[in-house]
């Protein structure tokens, strides 16, 4: 599980090494570190880390250890990996009803309806889906398409 962890470090040599120790001890794998030097305030530098922990428990233990070392925590939140997926539905699909029905874990971030020169209309949906839920979201969409007698075009 990836977390965005932002801490405030005193702008003195050796502070970062001290703060990284509890992360390593609690099984965290550091993916990136950014010193936000342009945001120095009262002698403290915000440092943004992306850390992969085995579970939320490991993050909690890390935060406890950091607090014990007098390291201030500015932010700690889970980063949810999402995928943007384009799908097209061919048939008479009511976008309003689709939005109301809702597809589990899916955010509709854009749509386009094509004026039907032929009998079937087309609805393109741009979706944002947490990576781990992509398959089930597409299964939901497939079910909706079948119920509406529409053809779902999904990406490869």
């Amino acid at each position: 599980m990836k977390f965005d962890l932002t801490i405030a470090l005193a702008d003195r040599p050796g502070q970062l090494v001290k703060a990284l120790e509890p992360i390593a001890k609690n099984g965290g794998n550091i993916i990136s570190i950014i010193h936000e030097r342009e945001k120095v305030s009262d002698g403290f530098v915000p440092v943004s880390l992306v850390v992969d922990f085995p579970s939320k428990w490991n993050l909690r233990k890390t935060i406890e250890d950091l607090k014990r070392l007098k390291v201030a925590i500015i932010k700690s939140e889970e980063i949810i990996d999402t995928m943007r997926i384009t799908t097209i539905l061919i048939g008479k699909v009511d976008i309003k009803r689709l939005a109301e029905t809702g597809i589990r874990n899916v955010e509709i971030i854009g749509f386009e309806v094509s004026a039907p020169a032929s009998k079937d209309s087309c609805l393109k949906l741009e979706l944002e889906i947490p990576t781990e839920h992509v398959e089930e979201a597409l299964d939901d969409l497939r079910r909706i398409a079948e119920a509406e007698n529409a053809l779902l075009l999904s990406p490869l």
């Binding site: 386009e112 094509s114 039907p116 490869l156």
Partner: protein, 334 residues
């Protein structure tokens, strides 16, 4: 080596012409190579000294070759009397019961005759049975021409990916539907007009539903799944959606998001033929009558082959299969 050719339609005739053109190359592997028999649905030609390939190249019907044509006699009889080492089976595809090709292949293998076929029907109906029979009889059963024509997918895997495990196969396996979808994509043509164009160019099957409802592509999916992923897939197991409902509006919407709509065969946890959104920079995104097969393996990762899937090009695959048998026989002789 003595060969017989069963079926004298487009592929049979083109093969005879090619064998004549390439006879020197073939004879460099086997000086004794000759075609001793050719059959069609009404009879057969047989000459143990070898038929005249040049003369045979110039006839449209076998009965025009000479009075040697035995009208009313069966292919089974030709297989029985010819004492052939190799049979090329090129009868029309029938996916309902695989006949008549299925019976011919069974009979040839039972007589320990190597078989090369370009006919999907028997393999769709009885893949496991035929491959087991070939193995039991110590014969080759080669079928490169059945999927994506000249694209050497089976040879590639057999020769070059022996240690790899194939996890997924994606393919554009029907040139006619790819032609129709490409015309719609590039020219803004309607589906109906693009289909009519394809029919006028003679690239559709007599019954266009065989192409546009994904039946042909589904047959190829069955063969790929069974041959390359060791599955036991039947035609009914393939979830199939054709391209009849693809509209010009859908193509335009896809295009705006950098996708093309293609009829894709997929073998992974799904076994499916359906129109899909293919990113325009994906190696599978080929146009016109081209076919493409994309495989994902544990070691080599991704490999894509692109080529022509039907017509004269298929003879390349049939000839290569014949040469594979000839080469092995020549090695065993040495």
């Amino acid at each position: 080596m003595k060969a017989i050719i069963v079926g004298f339609g487009f592929i049979g005739r083109e093969l005879v012409r090619t064998l004549h053109d390439k006879l020197d190359k073939i004879r460099s592997l086997d000086r004794e190579f000759k075609v001793v028999g050719v059959s069609d649905s009404k009879g057969y030609l047989y000459n143990d000294d070898g038929l005249d390939l040049k003369k045979l190249s110039n006839v449209k019907r076998l009965s025009d070759y000479s009075t040697e044509y035995r009208e009313g006699r069966s292919t089974e009889e030709l297989i029985e009397i010819s004492d052939a080492d190799l049979m090329v089976e090129a009868t029309p595809t029938n996916i309902k019961d695989g006949e008549p090709g299925l019976t011919f292949i069974r009979e040839a293998l039972n007589k320990e005759i190597h078989v090369v076929t370009s006919n999907k029907g028997p393999l769709v109906v009885a893949f496991k049975e035929l491959t087991r029979l070939a193995e039991k009889k110590g014969c080759h059963l080669l079928y490169e021409g059945t999927v994506a024509g000249a694209v050497p997918i089976f040879s590639l895997v057999r020769e070059c990916l022996q240690g790899d495990k194939i996890n997924r196969i994606l393919g554009i396996l029907n040139g006619t539907t790819n032609y129709i979808l490409s015309r719609m994509y590039f020219e803004g043509t309607s589906f109906e007009l693009a289909l009519k164009e394809a029919q006028e160019r003679g690239i559709t099957e007599r019954d266009p539903s065989y192409d546009i409802d994904g039946i042909d592509a589904a047959c190829k999916v069955v063969i790929l799944a069974n041959a390359l992923m060791n599955r036991d897939v039947k035609f009914e197991d393939v979830k199939r959606t054709g391209i009849r409902r693809i509209t010009q509006e859908a193509i335009s919407l896809a295009k705006k998001s950098n996708f093309a709509i293609k009829l894709v065969g997929i073998i992974d946890r799904r076994i499916e033929v359906a129109p899909k959104l293919v990113p325009i920079n994906h190696p599978l995104c080929v146009h016109g009558t081209l076919n493409a097969v994309h495989i994902e393996t544990d070691l080599a990762r991704e490999i894509t082959l692109v080529g022509y899937g039907a017509g004269r090009e298929t003879v390349s695959a049939v000839l290569n299969d014949m040469l594979t048998v000839l080469r092995e026989k020549a090695q065993n002789r040495d």
